[in-house]
């Protein structure tokens, strides 16, 4: 494969302040592509099991992909990965935006941080060079102030900054990493890992051209994608990710009041349409992408939302909105601003606050615990105050900053039953009781409950529907009901998951790729080949995703996770209280049968869920055992 995809890895030893550059074999890029697989390659080789996620021994990897920075849309996503302080297992989160491509154009395919800086620093990467700089003056500042200060100090307004906010500094276990103040590597507490390393930010400026093997072919495929987009315009541009709120509500799968309900009386008030009609000021986007699904919003009193922090995505709309019983879009937008200002994962924040609200209503918490705040569902101001208190670890916020599961365990008396989580990570805003592949997806995700494991079942119900288009090239030609959890659903989920696993390595956004985007799987293969020169195929690319998934599984096994951790919280086995699916619950036996079947499909032991030696050999992963 003498095709010449080459790249550089930046190593930063924060303890010693030493920086070095490595040039790995092409095989590494071909077998990992980037993102989660590339990060896991290093985590498995270099991080000792049992390490303290918030100790200097944790390894923190920022990994774009072979496609980041190339001209096609949607290829801007990069991974931040480490051992998670939230779950104790594999921690990983992707973000789009501009930072990943910028790093590539600065000459690097990844940055690996080890150790802990003696005092706050930030890293500046600029066209093949990198240096650590003092961050004392920005430590403690909001993300907006910090970004401005860094750009000012370095004298370049076009510098892209990935950073944590005060929440990351304070080691909130679900603190995020943000770029451009609004693109978030949200989940699994990667911001806390940065904070624990005294690493406030990574400022990047790259002016190099992307290294394209066949620039003409790249341009050809880029044009095909563009032409395909004109043929299939979607709501994503017009209404953003929250365009579907009314649909979810009508199906009874809009997570409401800590997942007790599936329908929210104020659903229309918090929808993408309402946003477009009221507070929307602009549509934001990521590097090279014309879909522009991002929102920018502005409000006056009482919330005065600052537009630099962007507008709420669907996940935020639901987690701070319906899940907390809050129907005021401006309040939700303020909550989103606060999360981005402080550097918090809006999903875990919302699910944790919703848990606290239920705990409050159920008497696990009293006003004495909450500084007198009436922490009930529907109290928008309470929701906003909780965000501030969590970010600052003030009062009850210090407890909730540990994540809903740890907080519940401290409360005792069975409060844990009110926590919607898998492996300690809070649920995202998709209802497994109404989208059954999510039941398996959440339970099995190596990072804890995660909605990016596969496309969601409602898309798979109709031939010609978007999810259906996604898996058809893999040989799935028949629709399956969203409520099905039998072998046909597991087959569909398993195949869809192959695609999503790939996306998390190759850095592709699922609004640009299959199912709803203009870049078909066959275009993705052509494009990858044009960029790298590799004689590749969809088969090989999907195997990279599977490799990544198995590496993550091995990582968690090393950390002591077992099949018992591939589980769902009690609420999923209890009936929904309202909406179109009122009374519907997941059957535990059916869930366990599905999980067992999935294990076998994945090439894992049906009892223990441990990958077989044969599966690992097939994926060239025996080195990782």
């Amino acid at each position: 494969m003498a095709h010449g995809y080459t790249g550089k890895i930046l190593r930063v030893d924060l303890t010693e302040g030493k920086i070095s550059i490595e040039e790995p074999d092409e095989k590494l890029y071909r077998s990992c592509l980037g993102g989660s697989a590339l990060a896991l390659h290093y985590l498995l080789r270099e991080l000792k099991p049992g390490a303290d996620p918030l100790g200097p021994e944790n390894l923190l990897v920022f990994a774009p992909s072979i496609l980041n920075g190339t001209p096609a849309p949607g290829c801007s996503r990069f991974t931040v990965a480490a051992k998670s302080p939230l779950t104790g297992g594999f921690g990983e989160a992707e973000a789009g935006g501009w930072w990943g491509p910028e790093l590539k154009l600065a000459g690097f395919d990844a940055i690996i941080f080890t150790g802990r800086a003696p005092r706050p620093v930030y890293l500046f990467v600029h066209d093949g060079d990198a240096s650590l700089r003092d961050a004392a003056s920005i430590w403690g500042k909001d993300t907006g102030e910090a970004q401005a200060a860094i750009r000012h100090e370095l004298g370049d307004e076009r510098i892209r900054v990935a950073q944590i906010g005060p929440a990351g500094e304070k080691l909130v276990r679900y603190a995020c990493v943000l770029n451009e103040l609004k693109h978030s590597n949200g989940r699994t507490g990667m911001g806390a890992v940065m904070g624990s390393k005294n690493l406030r930010a990574i400022a990047v400026r790259g002016t190099q051209k992307p290294n394209l093997f066949d620039p003409e072919r790249v341009e050809e495929v880029r044009k095909q994608i563009r032409a395909n987009y004109h043929q299939t315009p979607g709501d994503m541009h017009d209404l953003g990710t929250s365009g579907g709120v009314p649909f979810l509500d009508s199906r009874g799968i809009l997570p409401t009041r800590n997942f007790r309900q599936g329908s929210f009386e104020a659903a229309r008030q918090i929808s993408g349409q309402t946003m477009a009609d009221t507070i929307l000021t602009n549509r934001g986007t990521c590097y090279a992408c014309y879909i522009a699904c991002k929102r920018e919003v502005k409000t006056g009193e009482p919330y005065n939302v600052d537009p630099i922090y962007g507008g709420p995505e669907y996940e935020t709309i639901a987690s701070l909105g319906s899940l907390c019983g809050v129907g005021d879009l401006a309040a939700i937008a303020k909550g989103n601003e606060l999360c981005n200002r402080y550097g918090l994962d809006t999903i875990s924040v919302g699910t944790t606050i919703a848990f606290a609200m239920e705990a409050f209503e159920a008497g696990y918490l009293s006003p004495a615990d909450t500084d007198g705040i009436d922490l009930r569902f529907g109290n928008a101001d309470a929701m906003l105050k909780m965000i501030e208190m969590i970010a600052q670890r003030r009062g009850i916020g210090d407890l909730l900053a540990e994540g809903a599961l740890r907080a519940a365990r401290k409360m005792g008396n069975g409060a844990e039953a009110l926590v919607l989580h898998c492996k300690g990570q809070e649920f995202p805003m998709h209802e497994p009781r109404g989208k059954r592949s999510l039941a398996i997806g959440y339970a099995l995700s190596p990072t804890g409950a995660c909605h990016m494991e596969a496309d969601h079942d409602t898309d798979f119900e109709t031939p010609g529907g978007p999810g259906f288009d996604a898996v058809e090239p893999l040989g799935i030609t028949e629709p399956v009901s969203a409520l099905d959890m039998g072998p046909a659903k597991m087959r569909l989920f398993y195949n869809a998951q192959q695609i999503w696993n790939l996306y998390n390595c190759i850095g592709l956004c699922d609004f640009v790729g299959t199912p709803i985007g203009p870049m078909t799987l066959s275009m993705l293969v052509d494009y990858t080949s044009a960029v790298t020169g590799w004689n590749t195929s969809l088969y090989e690319l999907l195997k990279v995703g599977e490799r990544s998934q198995n590496m993550a599984r091995l990582f968690n096994i090393r950390e002591g996770f077992t099949a018992a951790d591939d589980n769902l919280p009690p609420r999923m086995f209890q009936p929904l209280e309202n909406g179109a699916l009122k009374g519907v619950a997941i059957d535990r036996e059916a869930f366990e049968a599905a999980r067992r079947l999935y294990y076998e499909m994945a090439g894992w032991d049906p009892e223990t869920g441990v990958p077989t030696r044969g599966k690992l050999a097939e994926l060239d992963l025996l080195w990782a055992v």
Copy 2:
């Protein structure tokens, strides 16, 4: 998937003389493509376990593929399948030539025979019609005479005839099916199954056009293949399949004297080059193919080879030549003519005769047993006489017509140790001790020892070598030594096997497809999509191959096969006696470890080799349990 690949299946109840036509769902074609998978679909559903392979209850399927009859080269291969009278398990053999395309152009995607005709018949299929006709006058005739008689009777010289010869009529357990007198569905005794049904021939004439979804795109891809062939001309046209004899000899892997040796002193005398220099009269080919790897030969006294029966392939050159110690190319060509005249699988014939020669030399047989024939290695006339005696079940031929394993068991006293077989089917002409993936390939093949399970290791040793090119798009980027049998080799074999399994369903010749042919895997996907209109991918197509393999596994399990049957004969664990690999043997522990690893790779139980429920669910095969 409303794309419109439609097809008809012809059903022939030989007992009742009834003919009917079915039009299955498109899903059947998409999930099977044709060939072995399509045949297995019917065998698993309709054949009861434990059936007598030579009884009327056996099901006999002739299955071309979705590509047969379309304009690209190499897509002419079709499958004949049934329960095998040689192995008692899944019986299947593919042949190229002209018959498969002709059946497609006559309007049919498969023919399924059940029952037994009260007296000899042949089937005539002509543009959507089919009728059974009396075969009394051709019963007992040589294949050449029979073909001429059928064409004469039907008044059309362009009729394509797939038929058995006298050996099939006499139920020789390795009788073959032939089309055009020289393209052989050779293995597993499908000719005996035809004979047992009193079905002598299937004469086909089709004048319809192939059903192409996108004729322009079909033509485009066809031209790409052609252009690629001009760039990569091979020996296959010039020297045919036996061009590599000197190479194999130099590597010590030319099967010689019943696999005791790996080098033959007369190797050059039986090579493709020698053939081209001496007896070659013409290069034959299959439907739409310009590679023309087939040979036509003519000799004078003493053998007077009739050119209508074609010339020997490599398998025949080695099985009747080096394996029997025979270095006379004209004698081998005569043996080939006799096998085609009588309808015998040249591989099993040669391996059976070589076994008999060793048994004779070792004293298991005496001249009294052989009608005085001095059945020693190197006796060309003895080899030729044995062919005749086997075909006619005369003298010792009657015993040998049962196959080498059954014959050895009758001899007793350990003669079985001299038989080179897996599951009762005789070895083809490739040496597992020197090409280690064959050790697993032979042992695991559902049809018994078979060389069409994957490309052969020697091709995988060098990056840029042909086998290497084959698997690179699947993500295998590093060469592995032919003598390696560790995890890297199993990974390589497993991946290569996916490709070969696919070829056996889609009817593609491996001299036209990857590795050595001009049709890359990506062209194959494009071509399949252009022919059918399916939004498919290499992933889906390879899964069809895997589906077929698992269906065959299930078939054998139903028939009582266990992991103990996935074995090699004793000789493979004994050292080669001469040549470059003198002293080399397979290590039993290494073999068993490789087998176990392979089971897990395949998604089978590591102890029993039974496909897991999860693997079957992934392949949509739970119906077959």
